[in-house]
Amino acid sequence: MKTSRIISVVLFFSVLGLLIYFPGRKWARGHVNYQTAVTDHPLNCLSCHLYTQKTGFLSKVINRKYMSPFNLAVSRSGERLYVVAQEDNALLVVDPYKNQVLNKIKVGNYPHSVILSNDEKKAYVSNQWSDEVSVIDLESSRVIDTLKTGNGPAGMSLSADNKSLFVVNSFASSVSMIDLATREEVKRLDTGNNPTGTQLSPDGKTLYVTSRRALIAPYGDTLKSEITAVDEGTSRISERRNIESAYMMENVAFTPSGDLAILTMIRPKNLVPSIQVENGWMMTYGIVVIEQKENGRVIQLLLDEPNKYYSDPFDIVITPDGKKAFVSHSGVNTISALSIDSIRSLIARSTPEQLKSFSNNLGISSRYVLKRIATGADPKGLALSSDGKLLYVAEQLEDRIGVISTDSLTTLGTIGLGGPKKITVARQGRRLFNNSGHTFQTQFDCYTCHPDMHEDGLVYNMASKDMGRNLTNTQSLRDIGDTPPYKWNGKNQTVYKQDGMRFSTVLTRTEAFNYKDLDAITAYIITGIPYPPNLLYNPKGELTESQLRGKAIFERSKDSYGKEIPENNRCITCHQPPYYTNLKMAYVKTLAWSDDSMLFDTPHLNNIFASPPYLHDGRAATLEEIWTKYGKDDKHGVVNDLSKIQLNDLVDYLKSLRAPQYEFNDLKKVQARKKTNK
């Protein structure tokens, strides 16, 4: 009996094994081929089914919580570093001499920047995803106060008298002035689009606020991004300067004498057909130099070289002697050391025409770049010791601080922040996402067009067939794992295909990701990109009356005249929660003359307020324009029966849409309520 049982079990498993191995293997091969759009991707179930787990036990086992240092400040004595650990929602107090993290102070959600009060008794940390600044008593290492700000607080600066705090509201495009005595926001001024960096001039009179996104304009118009000058005395805008053909001006620094302000920037080529990468046809990177005098000139200088690009410049600092500037390039793990005197000399002896040409000259950097210094993965914020001898670098994806000698321009060492030693598959994917090493001559990376893993607000001429055709509005990559297919034309059924060979042939134009890297970047995109909370339009999940009315319009089945709206022309049919997409292709009569004939993949609408311009070619500057200018024939939902107030309600509701997890939570609540009622 026992023997027959053993034989039966062995037989059962043998048959099962054979079934799995032969028909199962064939099925698996077909499945993997479909997912990856290639025929030779290894049949490794784990690479997809394990590492792309977003939630649950397995996800917790395979993933780690990293520190991700983003910005930092250094005490005057040089004995303390204060490091913003963005993913750990903390401020780390570090002893750079002992190479030791002394304290971890929990702050708000997704901290961005840190500055110290003049007496160094307090630190201010802006919490970008919780709309507040944490005030920290440095002696006790405790948060002693929380200051309300506008939406998305990022860069900060103290007024010259140390009595007011200026906080840049990156999502709301404004700067708040907070009276530190009363803790009240006393003024809020509009800035350029998506500002982050700010710096007060050495004379304490002018506050500069940079902006990252370009001002919304029709495709073909000259790209312009604003730098906003605030008169510190009157707390009014003293000047709005539009910097042409540049965007992503992340940070700004003044020379100690105050004669120059220097900003980091990107010069994109989104208006040029994307037909080649060679010779800077996709992206170039550099600095904007603004002379601080009457009729001061604005000069753009590239930091690239003819066959090497220094992508994603982020921070800039200038030594106290005013001789050197340092720029972090997060896309190539490099710091550029610049000679300020050489820049001054170049500007002084060049004609206006020459100065203009420098912004498109890849060779000019040899005149002022002293050295390129390698760093760990993804260098972001920079801080100089008070004597200017040491440069500290927040190496975001290395979980450590790099220390560089500003004299010898060499790396002296690194300071570990105690993050996980293991680099997970998704973390490796994030490193790849942020690194230009997989683009021809390191000209750009995923992050360049998808800053903050979102989108850069630009429309590109992807020139898929002929030049000048198929304009493409960059789409956000936040939480897109469950919203296939991808691309506006829905040709990529999976992230694997999106980032595979096609990506290399059409965009990066160098060797494609190997499969290990492709698995990693896919794991990161599918699992690792959360939406910021929608604190601007829906902070608590309670809709306003206008938004509730808009919701009713969004979900309606009859128009204002009581006439049935065909099911496929209702908003809710194609834009179903939780992602507000039915994952299907649709015809909404938005094809332009320059588009190839195609259907469009229904886009997801979570946090849609943060993704202007709209429609596949970005022709709608606002959500409203989708219908007032481009939806006159009621093919993209029936809207022409709506009054202006109703349309406003609809737009208000759309702006209230949040990350999908809130929808899941709401759904759970509804189900629970139903159960209770039963």
Binding site: S245, V272, Q276, G280, W281, L362, K465, K491, T505, E511
Partner: protein, 470 residues
């Protein structure tokens, strides 16, 4: 028990000896160097002669610089002449050009460096020389193209490692020799115009599918490139440049990959004698072939580019000139570039942003049209758009030049170099004769708002298969 022990010991000894001999058989150490040597009496340093890349009675020899001369091994004993050895990225094979008999054309061969067996890869009626491995199991070589309608001399061809899928990738009246592969995956080759008049030899760069050809480096008027160029481990490109006049000294020149047109350094300015070839070594040092005087034979030396000093002679045989060297063993594989070429398409597209941009800026000149010239005839005259841009659809794999003219037909800019477009290639230019370090301004060229102009203009319609890159 003792018997068992003894048996085990004997078996182990036999195994060890077998393993030792097996591992030693044909094993090539990474320290070894493969050189080409020649007894030729002709002045091989004269690069203007037709025999520059065709040295008679040359041999490829494996040497171990750490051991005595007796360790050298001739790898091409069966060949009348052989040269241009290149080692595969995994270090297991060597590709080279060779002639079995004096009357044979030069052909491409590959040798397994483990057993020294060789096989033919490309054997044609015309000479095929200067092979080089490409990533992706392909090779590139120069083939003589006699009576070519494109009036070229040596053109570049690529093929699979077994010789199949042999494809031409250059299509202009130039000659291309001595190709190497940059780490970025592009081919770096010596190119010079041969029609309508002979031009200066330049370092040209192109993708392995023949697209995006461009000038990488050009010597000044007083010098001429006389050797292949190779990339060092620290991002420099090194090659030999000699004075224009026959017999002038050859020097080792270094340029940077990042900025090749403006970073020239003569590494051997302070050293007398004559440098003939240079190759980058794994250690950061260079392998150079050099002779102190015209009466000496050329020998192989190590050269330190940091101190600009010549090291010890690695191989010095008084009976031979050492023509070139390459390190044995594995080395870094360049990137494998994707291809945009689609042989189902008959044309390529080219766009220029503004024909009035020359050097660094808008020239102020009033060119309003361009003339597209083929080898034998004009292919068309096209009006530029109001912003100076043009947009052409050109029959692929045919050379053409562009010159700018004003509304009265007066030539404003002389013709550019010969260009070709591969099938489905798309290229852009910023201006005409513009500074090659210039990038395009971020603006929509008016010309691309319309359909491209067909070139030659007498073609009314090009029927393409549907292109779908995305």
């Amino acid at each position: 028990m003792n018997k068992i022990r003894a048996t085990i010991a004997i078996l182990m000894a036999i195994s060890s000896v077998s393993i030792f001999f097996t591992s030693c058989k044909g094993k090539i150490s990474d320290r070894m160097i493969i050189v080409t040597r020649s007894t030729a009496s002709t002045d091989i340093s004269n690069t203007n002669t037709s025999s520059w890349r065709y040295i008679p009675q040359s041999q490829i020899v494996l040497i171990d610089p750490d051991r005595s001369e007796s360790s050298e091994k001739i790898l091409t004993t069966a060949f009348y002449s052989a040269r241009a050895p290149q080692v595969s990225y995994d270090g297991t094979h060597m590709i080279f050009a060779g002639q079995l008999k004096q009357t044979d054309p030069w052909s491409i061969w590959e040798m397994d460096l483990n057993d020294m067996k060789y096989k033919g890869i490309i054997a044609l009626k015309e000479n095929c020389i200067d092979p080089q491995y490409l990533p992706g199991e392909r090779i590139v070589c120069s083939k003589f193209t006699q009576n070519d309608s494109l009036k070229s001399e040596h053109s570049l061809f690529t093929c699979n490692i077994d010789g199949s899928n042999f494809k031409r990738i250059t299509f202009n009246p130039y000659t291309y020799v001595a190709s190497q592969v940059l780490k970025d995956g592009r081919i770096l080759t010596l190119g010079s115009q041969v029609y309508p008049k002979k031009g200066k030899r330049m370092l040209m760069v192109l993708r392995p599918d023949g697209t995006k050809t461009d000038i990488f480096y050009c010597s000044d008027q007083s010098n001429v490139l006389t050797s292949p160029a190779t990339e060092t481990t620290d991002g420099r490109i090194v090659f030999i440049e000699a004075g224009n006049n026959p017999g002038e000294k050859g020097n080792v020149i270094s340029i940077t990959y990042n900025r090749p047109l403006h970073s020239r350094v003569n590494l051997t300015a302070g050293i007398g004698g004559d440098f003939y070839s240079v190759v980058a070594g794994r250690s950061g040092k260079l392998l150079v072939t050099y002779r102190k005087s015209k009466t000496d034979r050329i020998a192989l030396y190590e050269f330190d580019p940091e101190t600009k000093s010549l090291g010890k002679a690695l191989y010095d045989d008084h009976g031979y000139d050492i023509l070139e060297a390459v390190e044995a063993g594995p080395h870094e594989k360049p990137k494998k570039l994707p291809s945009e070429v689609d042989m189902g398409v008959k044309t390529g597209l080219i766009m220029c942003q503004d024909i009035n941009v020359t050097e660094n800026h808008y020239s102020g000149k009033e060119s309003s049209r361009i003339e597209i010239a083929g080898i034998d005839s004009t292919l068309g005259i096209v009006d530029a758009a109001a912003d100076g841009s043009f947009y052409l659809k050109v029959i692929a794999d045919k050379p053409f030049q562009i010159k700018t003219i004003d509304k009265n037909g007066k030539i404003i800019s002389t013709p550019c170099g010969w260009i070709w477009l591969r099938p489905n290639e798309r290229r852009g230019c910023v201006g005409c004769h513009q500074n090659p370090e210039m990038v395009p301004g971020n603006k929509v060229p008016l010309a691309v708002k319309k359909s491209p102009v067909n070139i030659p203009m007498h073609i009314n319609k090009v029927v393409e298969k549907k292109v779908s890159l995305e």
